[in-house]
Symmetry: C2
Subunit: 280 residues, 2 copies
Amino acid sequence: MAVFLNNSFLDDEQALLHVSDLVIQRGYAAFDFCRTVNGVPLFMHDHLERFYASAAAMHLAVAHTKEELTAIVHELVQISSLREAGIRLMLTGGYSTDSYHLAEPNLLITCNPVKTVSAAEMTRGVSIITYEHQRELPHIKSTNYLMAVWLLPLLQQQAADDVLYYNKESVTEFPRSNVFVITNDGTLVTPAHNILKGITRKKILLLANEIMQVDERNITVHELASAKEIFLTSTTKKILPVVKLNGATIGDGKPGPATLSLYEKFVALEQIFYPQINAD
Amino acid sequence: MAVFLNNSFLDDEQALLHVSDLVIQRGYAAFDFCRTVNGVPLFMHDHLERFYASAAAMHLAVAHTKEELTAIVHELVQISSLREAGIRLMLTGGYSTDSYHLAEPNLLITCNPVKTVSAAEMTRGVSIITYEHQRELPHIKSTNYLMAVWLLPLLQQQAADDVLYYNKESVTEFPRSNVFVITNDGTLVTPAHNILKGITRKKILLLANEIMQVDERNITVHELASAKEIFLTSTTKKILPVVKLNGATIGDGKPGPATLSLYEKFVALEQIFYPQINAD
């Protein structure tokens, strides 16, 4: 792991925080995650926009400009020698003197190997379950994944790949992904409220607008069960078809045509920015 | 700060965690907090019971027995030379290889100076506001205080001392304290559901049962506003009268007789365990 902490590039074993930091004491830090394609950060501008917005919403000031952060991330990727890397940006509540009130934030950026979805996983699709939960401060990307990690044993027990949260009757999002539905009339629908707006979600909406009807609105758990196609989107998963919902098969249990079409368009979009690589 | 990390007593500057720990990456750690009176941990047995229960509910195994933890805490207090100390017990999700799945937990215990409520603060009482929010996994004491820290600027803006969460119509708890109400017929009421059951709350219920009618049930925000007395309880605040709610005066704006009576009984309870000190 290559690390940048405040003003220094560090080796893995130097990547330490004092326990008085509010990210440890109170789980308080703004967060973002992006990946590189062939050594170049993908959609960096969007991720930085969101990171600064999360930090501001959490009353945390980023000491660096976006240009400086971009340069730091590029240097970190170079130090790591990784072609496919996951970049974690974190701005913590800082070394608090009373373990409660904000101090000067610590900026932590790490660069690790990352695995995107394989062609086989894409062809197979994933099995999901639903769970009633509303993320706290959903518009902010923070380090609060308490519920997500807590639910991992349930996923294993139910032999499910991921969990889709719902709030009252409406589905919202996965712990780390957004949800999309193709309705029976071929419209692409995704929730608009009580969610974190993913960067991949944003790109899919842009691409889909050119080729199909698109609607951002509430989706009930009931409507989800009768969807023609379901897929999820995230930075590492890109577009991943959902073929099973709470044990019931969705569509014919295989990735649907609209999902595959959007997947192809998304991979093509990546290639526009990175023409040197081949789509897998 | 005196520190115990896994198997070692450390100085403050050695109290470091690697950033791969899930408490940093995902805000995932069981937590507890107790204080010492004249150098001796108060209600240690109750706090350890709850700490082990939180850890178990979070799928984290404590490597030490309760007897071992008790001995470690006593030694840590001795090392610190503090008479009035706050002890933080934390069991983290550990150094995860993928920043998501649980690893071997890290046990962190810190010992810091602590300030309890002064006689002047007790006489003055506190001003509170209400805010709609339900803590995630409320029965578990974890390091997730995202909402609590996030609301601090609102408290400052409203010149309030603390915020009382409510879920739909019913009040639940403060970020770090429980709420009690004296109704107009003199009954002591406190919420029973969707809360963390505080150790001070438990002691107050035991004491109150001897001298008044006690009821654990839902309290609406509306009922709260017409309460005869309101107070909060916590390890550092003991019993603290609430004299203002959302800008409106409670009772005659002074600590009420039932609150003061329970406060006296609680201080006397402390003295049973620590006869060498004087109540302040």
